[in-house]
């Protein structure tokens, strides 16, 4: 059966409300799941959620606009974030940044025209001892060098990484979990 985008959103929100409930504290979990599935929380989705939780849509917007990982505009299928942690060598970080822009043909803060890649600079992501560090969706790459950036992007193109804006990538126990790789 074919659903319009709006019908799909309504179905998704209804399903999530059934799981998380209608209390205000359910809002974050609902937004997280919508963001992960649709790669953004559209204005329409905010209205549907607000209606279901019986709060004003602007309340939902105020939450979406507050948090870094929630967004009202669609991000690329692969969000590539470079950590701007001061502990990392500036020269190495700059080289990786330059190479990322060259390989993708976009600047930091932009999304590629085909909607495949977004490039972002982010604050410290807790990998200060192993820089430079890149995060692609939920996966973390440590000790990245400029000459390996091309291979990393090929990985994405070949779809060996989980797509979507999914921020959750499960891994096994310990620091050597499958959600983390070293380039």
């Amino acid at each position: 059966m074919f659903f319009t985008e709006r019908q799909q959103i309504e179905r998704d929100v209804e399903m999530l409300v059934a799981v998380y409930g209608r209390e205000r504290s359910a809002l974050i979990s609902i937004l997280q799941d919508i963001q992960r599935k649709h790669r953004h929380v559209s204005e329409y989705a905010m209205q549907v959620i607000a209606h279901m939780l019986d709060i004003h849509p602007v309340e939902v917007y105020s939450v979406v606009s507050f948090y870094q990982f929630l967004s009202d505009t669609p991000a690329g299928r692969y969000v590539i974030s470079l950590s701007d942690c001061i502990a990392h060598s500036k020269a190495q970080k700059d080289a990786v940044a330059r190479q990322l822009e060259t390989e993708l043909g976009i600047r930091f803060g932009e999304t590629s025209a085909d909607g495949r890649f977004s490039l972002k600079r982010v604050g410290c992501i807790g990998m200060c001892d192993q820089g430079p560090v890149i995060r692609v969706n939920g996966r973390i790459y440590s000790e990245v060098s400029a000459d390996r950036v091309g291979a990393l992007i090929s990985d994405c193109v070949a779809d060996t990484l989980p797509g979507g804006a999914c921020d959750i990538r499960e891994s096994g126990p310990g620091d050597a979990g499958s959600g983390e790789s070293s380039l």
């Binding site: 205000r24 809002l27 200060c128 001892d129 996966r139 959600g179």
Partner: protein, 398 residues
Amino acid sequence: MKSSVVSKLTFSTIPVDAGLHAATGMSLEDIVETVRESGLRGRGGGAFSVGRKWEVARGVRSDRKYVICNAAEGEPGSFKDRAILSGYAPLVFEGMTIAALAVGATRGIIYLRAEYAYMLGHLESVLAARRKAGLLGKQVAGNPRFNFDIRIQIGEGAYVCGQETALIEFLEGHRGEPRNRPPYPAVSGYRGAPTVVHNVETWAWVTCVMAKGAKWFHDLGTPKSPGMKLFSVSGDCSRPGVYEFQLGLSVAELLRVVGGEDAQGVQVGGASGRMVPRSQFGRKIAYEDLPYGGAVIILGENRDMLEVAHNYLKFFTSESCGQCTPCREGTRKLLDGVERLRNGRCSSAYLDQLISLGESIQAASKCGLGQSSPQAFLSIVAHYRGKLMGRKLVDDAR
């Protein structure tokens, strides 16, 4: 990703469930008293007495109480909590269970920063194993009146959610804006119920204290800063990673161990901490001298301290929650000032005004994050002023 743990940690020597086992053999008052006697203080940076928090939460009558593990670890330069969660998660959950028993909580929540979501599978499997072993769920550890379980809530990216009341706002479905205190969360926290919030590392130490006794912990460190502490060491040194030290060691000693003797300065406490210049490397890392959050960033000879100030202020301008003016507008003005310095366009008089603005932000901001936001800038200006002025003129075509 390689393991970050470099030194041997006490956590690796604690027998499984020795802490919870010891606690179940005590009266509830004695559990709280043991934690209080150990002198353990919050290891996230707030440094509030752990025993005192429990005492307060225990004293409030309520049919619902919560314990929360703060795994926001948003402080730039800090990664010890990541190492603890990936290597010693059972100690953290055990500590939460002990507190739940002592204060009468039935539910625990772990706030896990989104960047650490890759650990979710691992953490869920540890929780599942504990449920299976009867250490979580109904009648925990064979105690017919003790029901307690823990769930994990992934964050959505906000530094300010490391502040305990902002974290609670997030969990309740709101913007992560810190609340006015009092009431403190131990009295009225998550959904208005008494809530004990501690950092990941604090929870693990709780378990160690229960397993090895209050005296063992209290005899280590200094009289005013008992015990050990994990440090995230990064930057220009030969052996970065997670280290455990007794409190009271000097910056110079730390630098020797990690191979960073050539530093021109050390940022102690992450972005919200302060820059310690070489002339002060004899100072001790302890509550009574150099307070810390556990993040130590070493800046070598070739670093431009202005870039460090710029990096931290840029961070604070984007992470300010925006509800109070000194932090929201003040940090922007300081960042603009650093850019003027960088472009060779800052007079001495204007720099003095920036210093005075920084002091106002410290005095007038609502929460600890706002209050500490100008600290790195102020300490860098105080110790490296000569290196910041007189830069080559740059036309700022912004």
